[in-house]
C-alpha cells in the first residue's frame, strides 16, 4: 500500500521534475533525436548578463511585493482580530472573493487603470490638466511590485488571522495583568510569539511569488521587465524553442524554491514548539479604537474597492467595447454584449468551458483524496518511508507553475507512444494534480494531526478493517478540512494559466484562462475580458456552493 502510493507519487512528481533536470543537462530539446550530456545550458545562462538582471528583478519583485502584502495583511488582520473596527466580517468575504479572481484579470484591470494616456487613474492629468501623460505608468518593476503586493494581501491576511487565532489569548491577558500596556504587549508578547509563524508566512508567500507568471507577463513584458517565469515562457515561444535556456532557468527557479522550502520547514518546526492552540473558542477582549474606528472602517472599504470592485468593474467595462474607450457618456452609448454573444456562437468557447469544468471537478477531488491517503501514512505510520512520502508530495511547491508546464511538456514527448495524452485535457489535469498536491497535503496533514488516533483505533477494536475505518471514520471526520482544501484547489486550479499555456497545444484542450490569454495576446481585449468574467462567474458559483456546504456541515 505504502509502496504503491510511493511509486505513484514518484511518477506524478519526481519523474516530471527529473526530466526537467535531465534536459537542463542535455544538448538537444525533446523534439530532436540524439544529443549528449552537457553543461553548456548552464554556462550559457550564467555567462549572459541578462540572467543576473533576471535574478535581480525576480528577487526584488518577490521581496518588494511580500513586504507590501505583509504590511497590509498584518494591519488588516490585527484590525479584524483584535479591535472593534467595523465591517470585520466583510474583510473575510473580500479575501474569499479575491481567491476566485484570476491573477490575469487583476493584471488586465491595472493596465486599463494605469495606461499613461488612457488609463482611468491618469484621466485627471491627461483630460483635465491637458498633460501628455499622467503620473501612473504600468510597465515597470515598481508597478509590478505594488500590484502583486495588493494581490498577495488577502492571502497573507488569511494566514495571519490564523496565527492570531491559534494564539492563546491568555498570553496577552497575562501580559496586561502584569501591568504591560497595549503597545508593550504587542511588542513583547504578541509579535515574538507570532514571529516564527510570520517568518513562515513570509517564506511561503515569497517562494510562491518567485513563480508567478500573470502579473509580470501583463505588466512587465511589454516594458521589457522580465522575471524567471516570463523569461522561460519567452524562451519556449521563440522559434525554434530554446529548451536549454528554459530548462536551466526552470531548474534554477526550482532550486531557489527548494531553498525557500527548507527554510520554511526549519521555521515551522520552531513554530510547532510555540504551538499555543488551545481549542477554546473564546476571543480575547477587543481593543476599542475610539475615534479611529471610522478611519479603520474607511480603510476596509477602500481595500474592498481596490481588491474587488475596481478590477471587476474595469474588466467588465472593457468587455463591453470592441476597442478600449476612455470612460465617458458617449462611450457608454457604444457599449454592447457583442463579445459575450460572439463567444456563445464559438465552438472554441464551449470546448474551453467544458475543459475548465473538467479541471475544476477532477483536479480538486483527486488532490484531496490523494492527500488524505498520504497524510494518513505520514501522520499515523511514522517512519522513514512515510517521511519520504511527505517530502515528495511537498516538492511541487518548489517549482513555479510554468516550470511544471514545461516539465509535463517534456514528459509528453517521452510517453506519447505509451500514453497518448499530449494535446488532451488530461495532461493538463495531471499536471494540475501534481502541482496542487502540496497544498492538499498541507491541509490534510494538519487535519490528521488534530484527529485523535484513538478515534481510528476505536474503529479497529470495534472489529472494522482498515478500509472501513478509513472510509467511515477518518475521511468522514476530515470532511470539513477536505472541503476547505477542495475549494482552495478548485479555485486555484480554475484560474491557473501558466501550465495550460504550455500544454494547451490544440483547440481541443484549451481552457478558459488560456483562451483569455491568447485573445489578449492577439489584441482581442473584449473577448479576453469577457472570458475573464465568465471564469469569475464559475468561481463565484463554486465558492458559494462550498460555503453553503461548509455551513451545513458545521451545524
Amino acid at each position: 500500500m505504502l509502496g504503491g502510493l510511493g511509486i505513484f507519487l514518484v511518477l506524478l512528481v519526481l519523474l516530471p521534475l527529473g526530466i526537467l533536470l535531465f534536459y537542463s543537462f542535455w544538448s538537444t530539446g525533446p523534439a530532436d533525436s540524439g544529443g549528449s550530456f552537457t553543461f553548456a545550458n548552464y554556462t550559457e545562462t550564467f555567462v549572459s548578463a541578462s540572467t543576473y538582471r533576471l535574478l535581480f528583478n525576480t528577487l526584488i519583485f518577490a521581496v518588494g511585493s511580500v513586504v507590501i502584502g505583509l504590511t497590509f495583511g498584518i494591519s488588516l488582520a490585527w484590525l479584524i482580530e483584535r479591535t472593534n473596527a467595523p465591517f470585520r466580517n466583510f474583510a473575510f468575504v473580500i479575501a474569499i472573493i479575491t481567491a476566485g479572481m484570476p491573477p490575469l484579470i487583476f493584471a488586465m484591470a491595472w493596465v486599463f487603470l494605469l495606461n499613461p494616456r488612457t488609463g482611468i487613474l491618469n484621466i485627471p492629468f491627461t483630460q483635465w490638466l491637458g498633460w501628455n501623460e499622467g503620473i501612473f505608468a504600468p510597465y515597470n518593476l515598481g508597478t509590478l511590485i505594488v500590484v502583486e503586493g495588493f494581490r498577495l494581501t488577502p492571502t497573507i491576511f488569511l494566514m495571519i488571522v490564523g496565527l492570531f487565532r491559534s494564539m492563546d489569548p491568555a498570553l496577552e491577558e497575562a501580559s496586561a495583568a502584569s501591568g504591560a500596556g497595549l503597545f508593550t504587549t504587542l511588542r513583547k508578547v504578541t509579535l515574538p510569539v507570532m514571529l516564527p509563524g510570520l517568518l513562515g508566512v513570509t517564506i511561503f508567500v515569497g517562494t510562491a511569488t518567485i513563480g508567478i507568471f500573470e502579473i509580470p507577463a501583463i505588466l512587465g513584458m511589454p516594458g521589457g521587465v522580465h522575471v524567471f517565469a516570463t523569461r522561460i515562457y519567452l524562451a519556449l515561444q521563440q522559434l525554434p524553442a530554446n529548451y536549454g535556456l528554459a530548462t536551466s532557468l526552470g531548474t534554477i527557479a526550482a532550486m531557489l524554491g527548494l531553498i525557500g522550502i527548507v527554510a520554511y520547514h526549519r521555521v515551522t518546526r520552531v513554530q510547532q514548539r510555540f504551538a499555543t492552540v488551545t481549542g477554546k473558542g473564546f476571543r480575547p477582549r477587543t481593543i476599542d479604537l475610539g475615534a479611529w474606528r471610522k478611519v479603520a472602517g474607511a480603510a476596509i472599504i477602500f481595500y474592498f474597492l481596490v481588491m474587488v470592485v475596481v478590477p471587476v468593474a474595469v474588466v467588465f467595462y472593457v468587455s463591453l467595447f470592441e476597442y478600449y474607450r476612455v470612460p465617458s457618456l458617449t462611450a457608454f452609448q457604444a457599449a454592447s454584449f457583442n463579445a459575450y454573444r460572439g463567444l456563445i456562437h464559438e465552438e472554441q468557447f464551449w470546448i474551453a468551458l467544458k475543459n475548465s469544468l473538467i479541471i475544476i471537478t477532477v483536479v480538486p477531488i483527486s488532490v484531496m483524496l490523494l492527500s488524505a491517503l498520504i497524510s494518513w501514512f505520514v501522520v499515523r505510520k511514522k517512519g522513514r518511508g512515510s517521511g519520504l512520502l511527505d517530502s515528495i508530495a511537498f516538492l511541487p511547491f518548489t517549482a513555479p507553475s510554468i516550470v511544471f508546464g514545461l516539465a509535463f511538456l517534456l514528459i509528453a514527448f517521452w510517453i506519447d507512444g505509451i500514453l497518448p495524452i499530449y494535446g488532451t485535457i488530461w495532461i493538463i489535469a495531471i499536471a494540475h494534480i501534481s502541482r496542487f498536491l502540496p497544498f492538499g497535503t498541507r491541509t490534510t496533514n494538519g487535519a490528521m494531526f488534530q484527529l485523535h488516533r484513538e478515534l481510528e483505533e476505536a474503529g479497529a477494536v470495534s472489529g472494522a478493517g482498515w478500509l472501513t475505518v478509513f472510509r467511515m471514520i477518518t475521511l468522514r471526520l476530515l470532511i470539513p478540512s477536505l472541503l476547505a482544501g477542495w475549494l482552495w484547489v478548485a479555485v486555484h486550479s480554475g484560474r491557473e494559466l501558466s501550465i495550460a499555456l504550455l500544454l494547451a497545444s490544440t483547440r481541443d484542450n484549451q481552457i478558459l484562462s488560456a483562451l483569455s490569454w491568447s485573445r489578449w495576446e492577439n489584441g482581442r481585449i473584449d473577448d479576453a475580458a469577457a472570458l475573464g468574467m465568465v471564469l469569475m462567474g464559475i468561481m463565484a458559483v463554486f465558492i458559494i456552493v462550498a460555503r453553503v456546504l461548509t455551513l451545513k456541515l458545521s451545524k
Binding site: 479497529a460 477494536v461 470495534s462 472489529g463 467511515m472
Partner: protein, 394 residues
C-alpha cells in the same frame, strides 16, 4: 476457572535517539474468565503499551498473547492477528466517541461495520440493550458531541460491550472525569463488570481505582511487573519500597536487622527497637526499610499499656481534614505521618507516644526511592480517602 487471556514474556522495544528502550520488558500474566485484572503503575511504566499489544494496536517485539484459547500474537510462530479480528472491546482514555455519528450509530458500529455483523433488527435490540446497561436509554438519537463527559464515557463502554467481547480492555477510562464523577463511575463500572461477569483488563495510574475495581493487581515499573496479587495483599504486604510508596501513604523507616525470633524481625531503628512481622529473606545485620502505614500507628497522650514498638515523639504539624487530623509526629528527628480521629485535640509541640503495630510493620529490602520526596505525596491520592479507619486510641 478457565484462563481467558494469557500473556507470556511480552516485549516491546522503542527506538529513541539515545538507543533502544524496553517499554515492555518480558511481561507475563494470566487473567481468568470473569476476572478484573489491573495493570497499575506510574506513567511510562509500560502498562498502556501492554494493553495496546493485547488489543493489537501496538506490534509486540517478543512473546505470545492468547485470547480465549486463540493465539493472537506469537513472535515465534509469526502470528499477529490484526486488531479488528480480535474478540475485544476497548474503552480509551479520550473515549474516542465519533463526533459525526449519533449515540445509536456509535454503539451500532461494531455490529454493523465490524467483523461480527448482525441483522438490522438484532442490531437495534442489542444497541438498545447496551445503552440501557449504561443508563443511556432514550438518548440514542442525540448527536454524540452533545453528551456530557460522564455520558460519553458510558457511551464508550456501551460501544465496547455491544459486540459481546471475550475481554474488555479499559485504558485509563476514568482519568478524564472530574473527581466526583470519577467516584460515581468507579462504582458503576465495578457493578457493571461484576454483573456481566466479563473478563476485564484495566489500566490505571490511580491506586484507588485499582484497589476498588480489581480482583487482582499487577504493579508495573519500567516495563516489568514488580508485584502481583489481590488488592488486599498488595496494600498490606508490599514486597518492595516502590509498591509501598506507590500505593497508599507509607512511612519508611531505615534500620538494621538486630535479631530474628520466631518469624519476627527486630530492627534497630529510630534509636530504639522495632519489631516487624515476616522475617523471610533477611539475616542479622542486613540493612532494611520498614514500611508502616499511617493507620498502623497509634498515638497516645499518656504512656501506652504496651512496651513493644513504643516511641516518644513531638507533634510537628496538624492539619484538620474534616473526618480526621493529618498529623506529622517527629520521633528522633524522623517525621512519621498518621491520621487520628478529627475529634481529638492535638497541637504543635505536644509530647506524645507512638505505637507501631508490629504485625503491620513490613520489612523491605533497601532500594532507591522511585519518587522524589514531593512526588510521592502528590501521587498518593487524597489523605481522607486512605484513612478510612483512622487509628488512635484514648
Amino acid at each position: 476457572m478457565t484462563t481467558m487471556v494469557k500473556v507470556s514474556n511480552l516485549r516491546k522495544i522503542y527506538i529513541t535517539d539515545e538507543g533502544t528502550v524496553d517499554a515492555v520488558g518480558g511481561v507475563s500474566f494470566e487473567v481468568q474468565a470473569g476476572e478484573c485484572y489491573t495493570l497499575l503503575g506510574p506513567s511510562g511504566c509500560g502498562k498502556s503499551t501492554t494493553l495496546r499489544c493485547i488489543a493489537g494496536l501496538e506490534k509486540a517485539d517478543g512473546g505470545e498473547i492468547t485470547i480465549a484459547d486463540t493465539v493472537v500474537v506469537s513472535t515465534e510462530q509469526g502470528v499477529a492477528v490484526p486488531t479488528h479480528k480480535r474478540p475485544i472491546g476497548m474503552v480509551f482514555q479520550s473515549y474516542a466517541i465519533w463526533p459525526h455519528m449519533n449515540v445509536f450509530e456509535n454503539v451500532a458500529f461494531p455490529i454493523i461495520q465490524g467483523s461480527g455483523r448482525v441483522s438490522k433488527d438484532e442490531a437495534r435490540t442489542r444497541v438498545l440493550h447496551a445503552l440501557s446497561m449504561v443508563r443511556l436509554d432514550g438518548l440514542e438519537n442525540r448527536p454524540a458531541p452533545q453528551l456530557s463527559g460522564g455520558q460519553q464515557q458510558r457511551l464508550a463502554l456501551a460501544r465496547a460491550l455491544v459486540r459481546e467481547p471475550s475481554v474488555l480492555l479499559l485504558d485509563e477510562p476514568l482519568s478524564n472525569l472530574d473527581a466526583k464523577l470519577r467516584d460515581e463511575m468507579r462504582v458503576e463500572l465495578k457493578e457493571l463488570t461484576q454483573q456481566l461477569g466479563i473478563t476485564t483488563i484495566f489500566v490505571t495510574h490511580d491506586q484507588l481505582e485499582a484497589l476498588t475495581l480489581s480482583d487482582r493487581i499487577a504493579v508495573m515499573r519500567s516495563g516489568v511487573i514488580v508485584q502481583e496479587g489481590s488488592a488486599e495483599a498488595i496494600y498490606a504486604m508490599p514486597n518492595s519500597r516502590f509498591t509501598a510508596e506507590f500505593i497508599g501513604i507509607t512511612n519508611l523507616i531505615e534500620g538494621n536487622v538486630k535479631q530474628i525470633d520466631a518469624g519476627r524481625l527486630l530492627v534497630g531503628a529510630l534509636s530504639g527497637d522495632l519489631w516487624c512481622a515476616n522475617a523471610e529473606g533477611f539475616e542479622v545485620d542486613d540493612p532494611v526499610i520498614v514500611a508502616v502505614r499511617p493507620e498502623s500507628l497509634e498515638v497516645w497522650e499518656t504512656q501506652p499499656p504496651t512496651s513493644e514498638n513504643v516511641f516518644e515523639g513531638t507533634v510537628e504539624a496538624v492539619v484538620y481534614v474534616g473526618d480526621s487530623l493529618d498529623c506529622r509526629i517527629a520521633v528522633d528527628g524522623f517525621t512519621l505521618r498518621t491520621f487520628v480521629r478529627g475529634t481529638r485535640h492535638f497541637k504543635r509541640g505536644d509530647s506524645v507516644y507512638v505505637v507501631m503495630i508490629a504485625d503491620e510493620c513490613r520489612p523491605l529490602p533497601v532500594e532507591e526511592s522511585a519518587f522524589m520526596a514531593n512526588d510521592s505525596a502528590s501521587n498518593l491520592g487524597q489523605p481522607g480517602e486512605t484513612s478510612s479507619g483512622p487509628v488512635g486510641v484514648v
